[in-house]
Symmetry: C2
Subunit: 125 residues, 2 copies
C-alpha cells in the first residue's frame, strides 16, 4: 500500500507509454476496442503469426492495458480501459494537426523562421 514516489510513477508511466510504442500493439488495442477477441482470431484478423500476437498481448497484459478471460481452451482478451482509446484518438488528432501544419502552406507565425528547420524534420518516420 506504499504510495509511489514520483520517480516510480514516472517509471510505470513510461513503461505503459512504451507498450503503446509499437504499431502492432496499437492495432491490437484498436481491434480489441471494436470487440474482444481470442488470440487466434486476433492473429488472423491482423495477419500476425500466433506467437507474435501472444507475445504482444503479454506485454499489454503486464501493463494492465488488456485483460484476459478464459473461455474454455481459448483466452478472450478485452480492453482494460476505454480511456486509453480516447487517449490514442486524441494523439491521432494531434498528429493530424501536426502533419497538416507541416505539409504546408501554413505560416501562422510572425517570425521569418531562421534555420531551425534543418533540425526538426520527421524523416525517420
Amino acid at each position: 500500500m506504499e504510495r509511489p514516489t514520483i520517480e516510480e510513477l514516472n517509471l510505470l508511466h513510461a513503461s505503459v507509454c512504451q507498450a503503446l510504442g509499437d504499431p502492432k500493439r496499437l492495432s491490437i488495442l484498436y481491434a480489441l476496442d471494436e470487440r474482444p477477441r481470442n488470440v487466434s482470431q486476433l492473429a488472423a484478423d491482423l495477419d500476425l503469426p500466433q506467437p507474435t500476437a501472444s507475445r504482444h498481448l503479454q506485454i499489454l497484459r503486464e501493463r494492465h492495458l488488456v485483460v484476459p478471460v478464459r473461455d474454455g481452451a481459448a483466452v478472450i482478451y478485452h480492453l482494460a480501459e476505454p480511456r486509453v482509446i480516447a487517449i490514442l484518438d486524441t494523439m491521432r488528432e494531434i498528429l493530424r494537426d501536426s502533419l497538416a501544419r507541416q505539409s504546408g502552406l501554413v505560416r501562422i507565425d510572425r517570425s521569418p523562421v531562421r534555420h531551425e528547420s534543418a533540425t526538426s524534420g520527421m524523416e525517420p518516420l
Copy 2:
C-alpha cells in the same frame, strides 16, 4: 501532400508513443510544461549530463513534441502541444486507479476469479 495510410499513421503514432516511453523524457516534458528552458538549465534542473538532455530533446524534437527557439547561443525548448500534457495527466490518473484496484481490498467483480492472476502481474516495474 499524400494522405497517410492507416499503417503509416499507426507508425507515426507508435513513434510518438515510444518517445513518451522513457522516464527522463517524461520528466523533461513536465519540466517544460512548467516553463520553457534551455538545454543546460534543463540538464541542471533534472540532474542529467548535458549530452543526455540534448539527445532526449533531439528525440522529442523529431517527434514534434517540443520546439526549439534560438536565443543567442542558447536554445530554449518549448512544449509543442499542451494537449500532450493533458494526455499524460490522464494516463497518470488511469495508472493511479489501476494501482488502487490492484493493491487491494477491492473486489467489485461478481466472479471469484479463477487463476489468471498469475499471468497479469506487473513485476518488472
